[in-house]
Structure formats: C-alpha cells, structure tokens
Symmetry: C4
Subunit: 222 residues, 4 copies
Amino acid sequence: MAEAPDEVEQPDARPRVSGTERMTSFSDGVFAIVITLLVLDLRVPEYHRGELLADLLDEGASYLAFVVSFIYIGVLWLNHHALLRLVRATTLALSWINLAILFGAVIIPFPTAVLASAFTHGDTDDQRAGVALYALAAALMSAPWLVFFGYLRRHPELLGRGVSPEHVRTQRLRPVTGLVLYGLSGLLGWFVNPVLGLIGIIVMIAYHAVTSEGLRRRVGRR
Amino acid sequence: MAEAPDEVEQPDARPRVSGTERMTSFSDGVFAIVITLLVLDLRVPEYHRGELLADLLDEGASYLAFVVSFIYIGVLWLNHHALLRLVRATTLALSWINLAILFGAVIIPFPTAVLASAFTHGDTDDQRAGVALYALAAALMSAPWLVFFGYLRRHPELLGRGVSPEHVRTQRLRPVTGLVLYGLSGLLGWFVNPVLGLIGIIVMIAYHAVTSEGLRRRVGRR
Amino acid sequence: MAEAPDEVEQPDARPRVSGTERMTSFSDGVFAIVITLLVLDLRVPEYHRGELLADLLDEGASYLAFVVSFIYIGVLWLNHHALLRLVRATTLALSWINLAILFGAVIIPFPTAVLASAFTHGDTDDQRAGVALYALAAALMSAPWLVFFGYLRRHPELLGRGVSPEHVRTQRLRPVTGLVLYGLSGLLGWFVNPVLGLIGIIVMIAYHAVTSEGLRRRVGRR
Amino acid sequence: MAEAPDEVEQPDARPRVSGTERMTSFSDGVFAIVITLLVLDLRVPEYHRGELLADLLDEGASYLAFVVSFIYIGVLWLNHHALLRLVRATTLALSWINLAILFGAVIIPFPTAVLASAFTHGDTDDQRAGVALYALAAALMSAPWLVFFGYLRRHPELLGRGVSPEHVRTQRLRPVTGLVLYGLSGLLGWFVNPVLGLIGIIVMIAYHAVTSEGLRRRVGRR
C-alpha cells in the first residue's frame, strides 16, 4: 500500500482525507495577498497644482478604513492559524468550508472601499449603507467558521492529537458572537447612527484580536 | 554522483526530470493570487450623494460573476491539487503544460469582468458575447489538462507510486467533458439565449466541483 | 503531552509561544506581493497619437520613485530576514508587532505614488507634501522595529540559540537612526527644499542597505 | 557553535553566506505574482450598448501582448529555477543581484501595457516607441544575470556540489546573447519597422524557452 506522505488511508465508505499542508500554504497566500491589496484603494487624489496636501488630508476616512481592515485581516489570519492547528487532516467538504472562510477574507477590500467612499464623499444615507454593508459582510463571514467547527464535531477523526471535541464545542461561541454582534452593529448603523455602527464594528474586531490569544491558550492546555 | 534531493538522475537520451516541489508551490501561489485578484473588479460605483445603496444594488450581476468565478478557481485549485499528486517528477515539457494550465486560471478575471459588465450595462447582444467569451475561455482551458494526461500516459516513469496508467486514461474523461460541454454552453448562449448559456456554465462548474472528490477517491484506492 | 512540531510548551502563567514558520512565510508573501504591486503605478500615460514617447519621458519621476521604492522594500525584506533569524519562537504579542512591521511595508506604494505624482504634475508645495509624507511613513515604519527589539529584550526565552541579549540591544540603534534621520529628511524637505529632503531619504535607504550586512555579520559571530 | 540549519559558518574576512531557501521562495512568490498581475491590463473596453463584441475584437494587440509576456515570465521563472540550482548558499551581494533579476521580471507588465496600447491606439511612431521600450527592458534585464554568473565565478565556494566553474562560464553566453539580440530587435523596431522588431523579440523569447532545457541538462551532467 504505497501512499504519499500527506495521505491517510480511509475505508472506502468514509470521505477520503488528506494532509493540511497545501490547504495551509494556500490560505496563508490568500491572507498575505488580500492584506497587501488593501493599499490599492489608497489612491493619489485628483488635485489642482498646489492643493495636494489639502486633498490628502480630506481622505482621512480612507486611511482609517485601511487601518481597520488591515487589523481585521490580521485578526482573521491569526484566528485561521489557530483554526488549522485543530485539525490534522482535511476532506473535500472541509476544503470547501475553508474556501468559504477565505471567500470572507478575500471580499474585505470591497466593503472597505465602499465604507471609505461613503465617509469621504457621501451623505448620511450613504454612510448608513456603507456601515450596513461592512457589518453584513463581517456577520456572514462568521457563518463558515461555525460550519467548520460543526463539521469537526461530527468528524472527530480529523482533530489533531490532544484536541478534544469539547474544546471544539467551546470554540463555536466566538463565531456565534461575531454573527450576532456584527449583525447588531449593522442594525445600529442603519437604523440609529452610522458612526455608532462603525464603533460597534471596531469594538468587535478588537474583541476578536484579544480572544485569538484565548483560543490558542486553550488549545495548548490539552 | 552528487544530486540535490529533488533531482532524479536520467540517462542522457531521455528528458531530464526534476521534483515537483517548486512547480507545486508556484502553482499554489498563482491560484491564491488569481482567486484574490477577482475582488479588484468589485469597484465602488460612481454615485451621486445619497444614491450609494441604489447604485450598489444595480451591480448584482458583478457580485454573481465574482461568486461564480471564485468557486470556479476553487474547483480548479482542488483539481490541480489532485493532478499534481499523480506525478512524482516533472520535465521541461510537463512544466510548460502546467504553465498552460495556469494560463487558463490566470485569465479568468478577464472574462468574468466582461460577463459582469455585459449583464450590468449591456444589451442582449453584449450578454451573448460575454457568455460566449466565458464559455470559450472555459472550454479552451480544458485543453492543457488533456495534454497533461496524454503526456503522463506516454511517460509512465513520471507517475507517483501506486498510480496506474489506466487510472490516468480514465481521468482524461473529465477535461473532454469540459471541452465539449463548456463549448455547448457557449453555443447555447450565443445562438439561443445568454441566460441559458450562463446556466450551462454554472452547472458545469458545479459538476467539476463534485467530481473532484471522485478523482481523489480513485487516486486513493490504488 | 502531544504537541505539533512547531509548538513549545510553556507554563500557563507565561504567554503561549509557537514556532516562527508560518510567520516567516506569511511575511515573505507580503514582501513579495508589495514589491510586485509597485509596478501597478507605472501606467501608460494618456497620449495623443504619435506622442507616446514624449509622454513616457515626462514620467521620469514615476520611474525614479518606482526604483527607489523597489530598493527600499528589498532592504526591508533583507532586514526582516535577519530579524526573524534572531528569534526561535513567537507569541501573540510578537505576531502583532510583526504585523505592524508588515503594515509599514504594505503602505509603501501609496507614498510612492504621491511622491511620483507630486514631482510629475505638482508644484513646489505639492513636492514638499510628497517628500514629507514619504519621510513620515519611513520614520513611523521604524517604530515597530524598535518595539520588536524591546520585546525581545524583555523575553530572552524567545531568542534563537547563540543570540545574546547584548546583541539585540545593539541592533536597536538602527531603527532609532531611521526614526531620527527620516524625520530630519522630512523636515528638510518641508521647510528647506523638497529635492534636498528626497536626497536625504535616498541616502538613508542606501545606509540601511549597507548595514543589513552589518546586522547579519554580527549575528553570525555569536 | 550553534547555527541555524540554513547557516554556513565563514571566516570573518569573507562575506557571510546563508542558505538559499528564503531567496528561492521569495523569488517564486514574485514570479507567481507578476505572471498573474498581467491580467489586470486586460480591461473591459468602454463600449456602447450592443458593441461589446466589436470592441473586444479591437483589442487583439492586448491579447497578443498578454500571451507573449505570460510566456516570457514563464521562461524567466524556469531559467531562474535552473539558476538557483547552481548555488548552495547566498551572500548579501548575491541577494542584491537576485533582487536586480527580480526587478527585471517585476517591471514586465509596464512595457507590455505600453506595447499593447501602441498597437491598439497609436500610430507607427508610438509603435516604434513601444517596441523599443520592450526591447530595452528585455536587454537590460539580461545584465543582472551576467553579473550573477560573474559573481559565481569569483566565489566558487557558493556553487552547489557537482557544479563546475567551467559550467558557469558557459552559461554566461545566454544573457550575453539576450543583451545583444534584444538590443538589435529594439534598434530594428526603432529604425526599420516596429513589426520586425516585435518579431525579433518573440523569436528571442522562444530561443530562451528552448535553451532553458539546455541549461538544465548541462547542470544534470556534472
């Protein structure tokens, strides 16, 4: 029975599993690219001679959106890093769930650009749309993480050594929190005040940044 | 005879072969980049103050094209992953065939943007052109996969351990199906109805997504 | 106690540490992408038929800015390479400090484009703004390097074998020099003459290119 | 004497050397990105409703330029692959020479876009400028390869096992050929006929594609 080193043989009735090495490097590549592509939305403004500085200063909202999204993708990468350390092997279904997680990361530059544009050139209605779109994207982005944890619970044979199913169940709390609170931030931004919604989003990103440590420590204890 | 670890010595009359490690990581890099670059075609629409939301909603076709192409590149990556697991070494010719496969993946954002533009801003004629271009690109993209399998059949010494030549012959069915059915989708879109052609394309992408599992299971059985 | 190979077990009271492999490859990816994205700001000028050559020659400042920033990112990559060789493990805090270093690199195409635009289309005021922005970005970019070295001094357990804390203290001199001298170049460009400020920036980049060797030789001696 | 595994200790008087692993993966990343970024210059033309197809067909020169540059970067990657297999270690100077080689690759999308624009929208003068720029870029790109081989000849201690200095001397012929013949193609395109110059460039790229096998076979014989 000759097998490539990243293969784990399975009885025919169960889905075929393989190692996570290429999934990891592909995901890392995607995160590295998307965090770098954000800069393409920082453009030199159209300016009249002598007014470059003033026009640059008008773009403050773009810089803030850039910084927030850079941190957000950094958070996602660190969390994804911790996520893949839970598993020792992948199946086709898990690869697709992972692609759905990457989809959420890849799309970030678009709501970022919309948000920046709304706060630079738009009125309050546009800002409400921009905040709601960003929050919607962030909330939906939590869904495949939930599915990932759910799949792992049903397939404990994919878990890394020393990772208990109870641990995986605990971890589901974080994407649920994300789904609910990003959603609430969007509603707040849409129905109450776009700036309040934006603050809600920033608080959530900070929460995920801090708890990515928590997730990793728990993994380590097992 | 000192050889780098990824070298396999060959008699002079046969083409020189080398390991697939750099080809794999280069290909993974290309797939990761192209799946991320798709987002650059989601642009903030030019809008009048207060009309951002309405203008965003008008871009529905762009979002659909983005999602379809994201899934398509995901499918290609998974299939390419399975493809490179068939081989244990490469030659210059096989490297060029692989570059032709990557060419097909790299080009996807262009027909995607054309398709999105045709369904957002164009009339039926433009939509027919957009669907036909996408289908043409997808059909032609199947050709180097066929050549890859054909080359492997003539050079069984490049096959990984446990991969039989019969298995490779079976695999040729999938790019042939792609060539024929993407071609038919294009003809359907051009001569009958662009929406029908588009549905044909989407069905084909779904078919390839599902059968990438089949391909991998067969590899595993050997 | 089962641990993935890139894990180092720690008592619970100290921050959890892990290997630097994924941090290294993620950072390399970011540097490779940003050094390549620079070319996107070299655009074909809008030209009337027959005037392409003349219009290309007018863009001289863009080419100079491209070359300077390419070398700058090359310098940063070489220095970052040397930096990560000092450590054998990372913590969540160090990962964030590293992300701040990458933030500095990722942002470079933006001040580069502003600088190129100011010297191509702007007046002296615009050039002063462009030089000051580039120098400000370069000076601020030095800050997370300082923090990185400071963190390493407080966590000698993260240092690679053969790297002494005294060596780390010596290395702090270089980002301090950068912070001060890029700042002075910016002030020179803003208050005296933009071309002088630009020369100051270029001299600093050359200094960092030369001393990246110095940094590496010192590491080797231990 | 504790050394990281990719370090080779050297007496202080000689330049410090280190392994080529990160240089290889960084270079692969750059080639993967630049070959993928080419597609960004394939843009949906501005079109009136119902004229998409006609406007797409007018862009034939862009597609040709895209294909030629894709093959060109593929050639460069394969040659670079063979180049790095000659060396077992790098120094700071060799890293900078390698960055100069990458500079040549990274810049390709720019002369490609100029060339495509000249043949789509320009007159004969513009085409002469486009061909001359592309040939100039290609000729200058050969220079750092020459320097690379020259440096290796003076530092035989960096050569991989089984690579003889005579072999390195032989390899210098190819960049010399490139420097001369791309230069001649540019002169031909500028003074005689832009289409002839373009044909000269395409022939040269084909020559390098074919001889990349030659280079590799010679390496294998040692």
